[in-house]
Point group: C2
Chain length 247, copies 2
DNA sequence: GAATTTTATGAGATATATGTCAATTAATCG
DNA sequence: CGATTAATTGACATATATCTCATAAAATTC
């Protein structure tokens, strides 16, 4: 599955740097050196990502998750109170990874117009490179408001920077952020459903820049310019991951 | 509930004309002169609107619908095969009403910029004036693609008109339509959740116009100008509504 | 390797949803 | 009014989901 990124790279020649969100069994891998209980919990979380991506949060059932994780039904309740608890656990973790990767991908970019455009494009590339996680992110963002807020926190800063630089001529507030995000998320949705191609990121970035007040020719140039190679793409460092779980 | 429109009118003084989507028990009223079976079916559909709006399509159950309609569980299955069938029935009807009302509200407007702005603003006013129907519309649009297409069919025409007039400098295709719609729907969502005020329609229309290539000052003026009074706001005419139901 | 602690299991109690149908009630008609 | 047709009912069979808990298995400790 990770190899999809490579394929996409071949299709979209201009793109040299690629962000890796995570492999499908990230949690399991991270926990491979930890105790047994941590490993089981990790398998459940990986399974939850798959099931949420396939069925959505609503339709997903604990049974499906335990079946996917190949553990007994009762095992689930050893580690999580209910479906919501595991949902928040994986959703927040995905958001955390996304923010971290995006931050890392933009260390060298200082121009507000470029930053805003890059963020949108890279978020889309990232979420599309591992569709399961992309789906989970998409669904989670609709449900958890504070999670959405954390994902867009850097966005607000970039938008305000642009206003300060005089390149954005629009009032920055919750309404704008929300509309901006909706454009990105709608594109992610279409991208994941195969209704939009690899240039969707650039197209929506272009529209967003125009909306913000960037001149059409500049918007086009920046949104479609080749992305710089990623400087740091080191895999996520395995972390402790709260092994004491008996609440 | 219908009186909310009046309150909103008071808050937003510039608005003289108001579109009425429908009252909460539209189907029942329409069927009041029809046979008993048509009336029962209508009660179920009104109940379905309430339940879908409250719980969403996924979480809604047939039991909840029959309870709201004050009929026995078995009665439901006399009129509908399952939840999906009643869902499509009410969803398509709402979309039909919306399109009809919007068309009527824009008979006098010929300028593409004004038409696009008006459509967004009036759709939002319409859907917000009867929140239950607005919620149902919002959820339905996510689920039924062809329904969304029908709601935005007039939009595509207006956008192409604007390109022909030289006021929109953007490529009109499915991607643009979808992004444009996402902006409107996101605003509807926030409006229904109380996260955005009555000016949200104008604000999003302004952003949309900028995105399409309209100069910022023009976009602002058109999006925030007072809406013309509605010329025709006659209530929906009670119609036959397929009384022969034995499939 | 026996004792102890940790982890996993799956049957089962509880709940809720779907869809059917024989029986009942209401409406209509001659 | 009695007969016939239309409409409604709610119990029931079926299915699926949640969460618990006594028991079993596995891992760890001494």
């Amino acid at each position: 599955m990770r190899y999809m990124s490579i394929n996409r790279l071949a299709l979209c020649g201009s793109q040299i740097g690629v962000l890796f969100l995570t492999s499908l069994d990230l949690f399991t891998r991270e926990a491979r050196n930890l105790g047994k209980s941590a490993r089981t919990k990790a398998r459940l979380m990986d399974a939850a990502v798959s099931v949420f991506a396939r069925d959505g949060f609503e339709a997903a059932s604990v049974n499906e998750i335990t079946r996917a994780a190949e553990v007994a039904n009762g095992t689930f309740y050893v580690y999580f109170k209910d479906k919501d608890e595991i949902a928040t656990a994986v959703a927040y973790r995905i958001a955390h990874d996304v923010v971290q990767q995006l931050d890392g991908a933009m260390v060298g970019v200082s121009d507000a117009v470029e930053r805003v455009s890059c963020a949108t494009r890279r978020l889309l590339d990232l979420a599309t490179s591992t569709p399961q996680w992309g789906q989970a992110l998409f669904r989670a963002v609709w449900i958890y408001n504070d999670l959405r807020d954390s994902v867009v926190s850097y966005l607000r800063a970039d938008l305000e920077r642009g206003v300060a630089q005089g390149v954005f001529t629009v009032e920055i507030d919750d309404f704008l952020i929300s509309t901006f995000s909706a454009m990105t998320m709608s594109t992610l949705f279409r991208r994941l459903n195969g209704e939009a191609g690899p240039d969707a990121g650039s197209r929506v970035a272009q529209l967003q820049l125009r909306m913000l007040g960037v001149a059409p020719d500049v918007a086009k140039r920046v949104a479609f310019q080749a992305l710089d190679p990623i400087t740091l793409t080191m895999p996520v460092i395995p972390r402790e991951m709260d092994r004491s779980k008996k609440n």
